[in-house]
């Protein structure tokens, strides 16, 4: 029989015949897909320890721990800098937090504190499910990007966590 003449029922029958093979092939793919999406924004926010600041939040931070912010415009919204805390919050035009930059060693993202070595930081971020995007300092997972600010001693002196559009 020519393939153009085959009816849908033929393909269904063939699929049933190789059901076990198909399932064994599809299941790992399904799990791999789930793994890629396993970083939800709740999980990301749970791992952010920067003065209680969370991504997607619409909290209008103008002052943190007595430090008043200075505001600057940016192409995607506006940023508030808390210089004495070494923290910057980036807001989108929807007034939701889309970026957090920290150089404060009392803060951490995914357990990475400014002050640790690049090697340690890389290990932690890869364990968290991120993968290298623009090596060696930018890592991505789903809609999130984390960039290490690294100095000449190979020490991470800051982190930029950003929500991608």
């Amino acid at each position: 029989m020519d393939w153009t003449q085959r009816q849908p029922v033929y393909y269904f029958g063939a699929a049933m015949k190789y059901q076990k093979v198909l399932i064994s092939l599809l299941l790992p793919l399904l799990f791999a897909g789930c793994q890629n999406n396993r970083i939800s924004h709740d999980k990301i926010n749970d791992q952010i320890d920067v003065f209680g600041i969370k991504l997607y939040s619409d909290v209008d931070y103008k002052e943190i721990n007595g430090v008043v912010a200075t505001e600057e415009p940016c192409l995607r919204g506006y940023e508030r800098s808390f210089d004495n805390l070494e923290v910057i919050i980036g807001y989108g035009f929807d007034h939701k937090i889309r970026k957090i930059i920290t150089r404060n060693s009392r803060t951490s993202i995914f357990g990475i504190k400014p002050g640790i070595t690049y090697g340690e930081g890389k290990q932690k971020i890869l364990q968290a499910g991120f993968s290298e995007y623009a090596p060696p300092y930018t890592f991505r997972a789903n809609r999130y990007s984390l960039t290490f600010l690294v100095n000449g001693n190979n020490t991470i002196f800051g982190l930029t966590l950003e929500l991608l559009d």
Binding site: L75, R76, L149, V150, N151, D165
Partner: protein, 165 residues
């Protein structure tokens, strides 16, 4: 009744006229412009580079003047908002505090080896300091014809000039 209608229309016209904004930019607010202008003047004095306006830069490109154009915006912003024709990315951070050796190396690579070449560096708009940080680094590294284009991608697009996306 007729008098009431005339009065209502008159009041509405006065309200509309009263709402019209005046100033450096009819669409904008004067105080942020003043703030940006103060920073800009201080930065230009400090940076030791030259400046070029939107129309002049367009003229250079029309005349096929040999110019290396560098975008100091993050790569993702270049992708999202477009770039000036033939520009190369040399992303700079928003403040000197976030500057890394990798940023400097990337910028110097984009600038090339000819220190007499005309280089124009730009970012988002007048208040954006990424172009200042980049222009200053280029001057410090011996480049002799460094221009900062303060209007950036916003001014370029506002004029309706071609962008690359």
């Amino acid at each position: 009744m007729r008098i009431l209608s005339v009065l209502t229309v008159g009041a509405m016209l006065l309200a509309v006229i009263g709402c019209e904004r005046v100033g450096t930019s009819p669409k904008g607010l004067e105080v942020p412009i003043e703030k940006a202008a103060f920073k800009f003047v201080t930065d230009v004095k400090d940076g030791g580079y030259k400046i070029v306006g939107t129309e002049e830069l367009k003229k250079w490109l029309n005349e096929s003047k040999k110019v290396t154009i560098i975008s100091a915006l993050p790569v993702d912003d270049d992708k999202a908002f477009g770039t000036l024709p033939s520009s190369i990315n040399g992303a700079m951070p928003k403040t000197e505090k976030e500057l890394t050796q990798a940023d400097k190396d990337n910028l110097l690579k984009a600038a090339g080896s000819d220190k007499e070449n005309t280089i124009v560096i730009y970012c988002g708009f007048l208040a954006c300091r990424r172009s200042h940080i980049g222009a200053k680094i280029l001057v410090e590294n011996g480049f002799q014809n460094v221009y900062r284009y303060p209007g950036g991608i916003t001014a370029w697009k506002e004029m309706g000039y071609t962008i690359t996306k």
